[in-house]
Subunit: 203 residues, 4 copies
Amino acid sequence: MPKTPDATRRSDRSRRAILDSALTLVGEVGYNKLTIEAIAARAGVGKQTIYRWWPSKAAVLLDASLALAGDAETEAEWTGFPDTGDLAADLKQVLRATVDQFNDEKYDAPTRALTAAGATDPELGARFTEQLLEPQLALYEARLRTAREAGRLAPDTDLRLMVEMLVGPLTYRWLLRTAPLTHAYTDALVDRVLGGVANVTAR
Amino acid sequence: MPKTPDATRRSDRSRRAILDSALTLVGEVGYNKLTIEAIAARAGVGKQTIYRWWPSKAAVLLDASLALAGDAETEAEWTGFPDTGDLAADLKQVLRATVDQFNDEKYDAPTRALTAAGATDPELGARFTEQLLEPQLALYEARLRTAREAGRLAPDTDLRLMVEMLVGPLTYRWLLRTAPLTHAYTDALVDRVLGGVANVTAR
Amino acid sequence: MPKTPDATRRSDRSRRAILDSALTLVGEVGYNKLTIEAIAARAGVGKQTIYRWWPSKAAVLLDASLALAGDAETEAEWTGFPDTGDLAADLKQVLRATVDQFNDEKYDAPTRALTAAGATDPELGARFTEQLLEPQLALYEARLRTAREAGRLAPDTDLRLMVEMLVGPLTYRWLLRTAPLTHAYTDALVDRVLGGVANVTAR
Amino acid sequence: MPKTPDATRRSDRSRRAILDSALTLVGEVGYNKLTIEAIAARAGVGKQTIYRWWPSKAAVLLDASLALAGDAETEAEWTGFPDTGDLAADLKQVLRATVDQFNDEKYDAPTRALTAAGATDPELGARFTEQLLEPQLALYEARLRTAREAGRLAPDTDLRLMVEMLVGPLTYRWLLRTAPLTHAYTDALVDRVLGGVANVTAR
DNA sequence: TGGTAAGCGAGACGGTACGTCCCGTCTTATC
DNA sequence: GATAAGACGGGACGTACCGTCTCGCTTACCA
């Protein structure tokens, strides 16, 4: 019963090499042509070392993305969701940063691959959502809750719905490539989400 | 010399059988385990007949979805985007119908597969967007334009942005499975998009 | 019942083009990589035109070789097996000519291909032997019969056996490439066949 | 970089199964309808395991024949080319055994297939000749050398030529099926090779 | 401090599907 | 009705990876 390997003996060197190779390769050849064999070869690692610790290439990529996200936070000296008191400004700042990430090939390729794979594979999707997506959405939600408590949003505001109104359209454009992602776009989005689109004067 | 085959001699019987098989199989085994070989076998067709007319299984599925969409319109005696004069009501009706489609396994599997594949493969994504998505978005846009001209929306309303504010969040929930899709959800979405979420009384 | 096509309507132009293409191609790519499709394309002919008149590519090649043999006789102004009265000299002359043919790539490729195919496919082999080989062997046999009647060979000589003693070793060397084919070789062969190899003085 | 596999880790079980399957199948369906896929399936082996170790089905069959020849020698308790002092008798004995082999379907099919394939494919032919044929011819040659040294053959006898005079006609009949193979035939052949066919009394 | 059991790089293995080539048949339009 | 052209259902090709399975080798931990 060789089920559970001994994690204390795990080679961190190999783990890192595998995650690095996975990220590099997914950028080079895309998710569909990404193979475990290529990752192993590039990492100078036996295939079994990958199969021992991950159930699928998608899982490898998920871990790689988590590591990437962790690195990014560190690099950017991320200090939490901004709260200047000006909700619109804070949201615009964060969404602009997200746009920049989506436009950065380094983040785009693996994230896009994972999102697509998660859409098709429910189990992977669940892990992707839970580990990568939800933590980010929770930050939005917390900021919105503060705003609601401060009376800047209606007391009955559905915070979750509002989060999706912010990230949904952006994600839509990004995934489906219907139009380029710009700061102007997300700025307008924030304004419209907060203010609505109905003609107030006409009411 | 890409050796373009003679389309006039194409077997319509085989074409239909291939598209049918593709739709059936993607529902049975999912996109990742869908194989050209299985499609050919199920359709009683040589593999070459598929490769002659389509460059990839994704392309087959795209054509299959187009056929499916065409059939669906016919079946539902679709008479165009509703325009009762009540914009909110019209949008809610259409989005409810979309929710129903997303909740119908028959449409969900191929559409999800295509969307995911398109996110990963730019060329396919372009065709998917252009042939399947844009025509639908254009209908929304037309209805919104009517509303704007009728003064129900601000004259400077960015129609495209607004369309994405409606379909973006819905698509987001559907693709990422962050929460179940319900009529109540889209109804609330329409209200918030039209009315905004900022606390008006607090202004 | 499209069994027997009408031979009187047959296009001689196509027939010739097919046989020519077959000979050319077998020299270029070898028998195993020779395909009906390539012959048809090279000949500017529909595949069906080949299938209508020949049962297999081997049969095409057999006809092509028959035509080639006919041409060769005409070219060489062949006037029948020589009979100068000197049996050894006559045999040497004919075998030298055969050696020359075997060493001529133009004849070697198709003949070798046919011989090999015939060895594997009994039906083809029968036709090959009957139509191409036997007529030649019969010429040897006739010359030997003349010699036997003239008392140059023992009255009980098995002519068939003797023919094979002449062409067998030569064919063996040619097919199996155990050693180069030279005039000296066949000259020695004739001498030894006629004289035997046992040490006469030791009797 | 031809990626030579590590022969020390080769599975002998698979090797044997492949050679066995190849021999069985070539007897069942013939060489032309013998497929690598069928060999693999019959042997319970992946196709790649065949392609890893052999370049073609002909090469597989060559190895299979070598194994078969080895087995045959062992079975027959082969103790070397006979040397009773009576050259004619010894040759007749060996040629009779060869006739029996050629008439044994079990040996005929693979040997015929290999000979034909070797005639067409020079590289294979070289290996076939070198590994299977030459060792046998060398035995003849050794026996003849003994006879020559014993004064039973003329001192200037071309041993190689004489070997071919013995096996050439036999192989010719076998390959081209011009006549049935019998012991009487090879007996007569030996007599005529040793004694010649010229009418001695007429000298 | 030497024995042993785990993780490791390497890669052979039984398999599945790939995308291509060609088979022999069938259909269409031309002559 | 034979022909040039070529689409069709089918089978095998040789390749790429899958996920599993030994191999020796290195590297702790334990006796």
